[in-house]
Amino acid sequence: MDINDILYNVKNPGRYIGEEFNIIKKDWKDVKLHVALVFPDLYEIGMSNLGFQIVYHLFNRRNDTLCERFFHPDLDMENYLREYNIPLFSLESKKPLFEFDIIGFSLSYELNFSGILNILDLGKVPIFSKERKEKDPIIIAGGPAVLNPEPIVPFIDVFFIGEAEESIDELVEIYLDWRNNKESKFELFKRWVKLDGIYIPSFYDEEDRRIKPKYYFVPEKIKRRIVKDLDNSYFPTKPLVPLNSIVHDRGMVEIMRGCQRNCRFCLAGYIYRPKRIRSVEKIKDCVKELFKNTGYEEISLLSLSSNDYPYIEYLIDELNKEFSDKYLSFSLPSLRADKFSLELAEKIQKVRKSGLTFAIEAGTERLRKVINKGLKTDDFLNTIKIAYEMGWRKIKLYFMLGLPTEENDDIKELINILFRISKENKGILLHLGFSVFIPKPHTPFQWEKFCEREIFEERKKYILKNLKRGPFIIDFHDYNMSKLEAIFSRGDRRLSIVLYSAWKMGSRLEGWKDYLNISIWEKAFKENKIDPQDYLGERKLDEILPWDHIQTGVLKDFLIKERERAYKEIETPPCEWGEYCEFCGISHG
């Protein structure tokens, strides 16, 4: 049985064929370096990730390098690959994973971690770093999930912390020079570790939970790489256009990186600082090129908070002016629930009218002060009212349960507000999404506990019971999935063995509700005598945290101060360089 025969028998075979428009296929003999870029989740998720596409093109724009893609196969495909002993192959040249020089994992989500082990195993690469020989590929991992790399340290040779745009050429140049000299991997790592953002776990020891350098040439703390000039940094305007439908099947232009809002629960708000913008002219050029090269019907103008892009109205006017005759529409993610957002939404929907979504996060103004969401109840009610008057009938609202200081009264108040909305806006349909708050490292809430199951279930029951009659569609995120994410988000090295056991027992694709089998994980924790509760409870402020050696640039003192303010329900205004600064530690210059 060959790959072609297998494709007849698997779900969505188009995921494995590698025939996307703008695909880059290079001759292996024509280049010096072969990089496998891996997204350890299904194709439809990985292909929707902008960071993944940026790195793909950053490598491929070099004449001496090729970069080919790998995704986690779906389970039916995995079974065939194992049954017929076919090594996992790249989409571009169908070469097996073990033939590549460097394997780079793009990690956005802790529940993709078992995918690292599975993909290495399917690609016939030894899973543990210590088992890999000099001839074996070098495994690098980057992406937002490696801001706490410790749970996957035994599997990865090199971590890249931060933004890749300005670093890939440096890494490649050093690699090629090292290979010419025919030295050991140790010598390469010794040279790489001098670069900012490089964490090489084999150069560190763990002593009393503290990660300490073994050698004099190794930095004690690893500084996150930050792109200073976003406007002139590389952006892929010839992205891969998939044949199979994917989760975010549209073009993407990053208009702004970083966020000034100080939402205390938000990882992205701390690990992408400082706020940097792309100029209107550059965005226009990107959109023009993107349209020409993809034919997309919609382009998403990406940022963490669209309202805060300083020229947002002008930008939308300009884009509408230039592209409406091409039937190209634009979307803005992360709109704040205020009147300005509605004006933007109106402007942006000149071509196509879509839904309206707001992340309210917490039901009461008090709780929103705790998390620093900065949204007054009256303002939010008023926004919904205006949206209703403007013609929107379906509105999606997102909330989190289990936030620090949350009480049953906050939930009661939320129910009251939702009924008030439905009464004041007859005929409105509210789609409510509830997730569980996950304490993330590098945020002011990194010391908080994860909500206990009993409390979550009680609040869920209360919400479902009280919203039974009314214009509501209600979704709850899977508690087990969030719990596992919470464990790994603040995990340490000990978790790697749990991860390995769970994978060995057959756990796969834990980010998918249909695939997550929590009983495997319970067994894995038990077998390894590790109590998951150790990772879910509240942490002490003076405790050594597993990610203390990773520096995002935001000071720990600032996080502590923000946490104190949260408990006092004091808001922190948005940062505005040159006007208002809380001195988080990030340099803007």
Binding site: L7, L243, N244, S245, Y296
Partner: protein
Amino acid sequence: MDKYKYRLCYYKKGNIKFVGFIDLTRFIIRALRRTNLPVHYSCGFNPQPRISFSIPIPVGVESKREWIEIYLSKKISEKYILEEWNRQLPIELQFYECYYVEDLKDKLDVKFINYELEIFHHDIELLLKDIGRFYNLKSYNILVRRGEKIKILDLKDFINEIEINKNKDKILIIAKTFYKNNNLIRGEEIINIFTYKPFIKNQVREILINV
């Protein structure tokens, strides 16, 4: 606004056969949007390019000829349309004929679907015998699934001609079938006429229309 209708046919082979029909249509439309062709759009809240596809093609099936109709807002040479669109498409999917259709009311009228089924089978004689028997029967009813429904179709109503073609090391079932009242027979349904059903290695179809 003026509109001009064009009818084109394309082939689809190789790995592209593994792409589902809806995904394929989106891919072809995006390719069209990348060209400079003056595509005519529908009006309303959600304007769409005026394009229509002939019968959906199942995943895993290659095709020698599928049909598409598009409306443009300017009259343009057929050759230019072919060149522009093909430049945006992979070699496994290319347009190769284009006709200007003067009468806007003239609709795509599918008449025949031809199949070439490459099969594994150890006994050709037996297959030929089954074909002979099939020709002599008055009817040959089979159950087929169409969406959520199960239907009874008479293969005699659909199969016009069927033969076995041994070509080098390939054994092919060649069948010419009718497209009737929005009903069709799928390639894999044809092998119901055989006592020992052969295993289909590859399936190629061709859609023929009334002109």
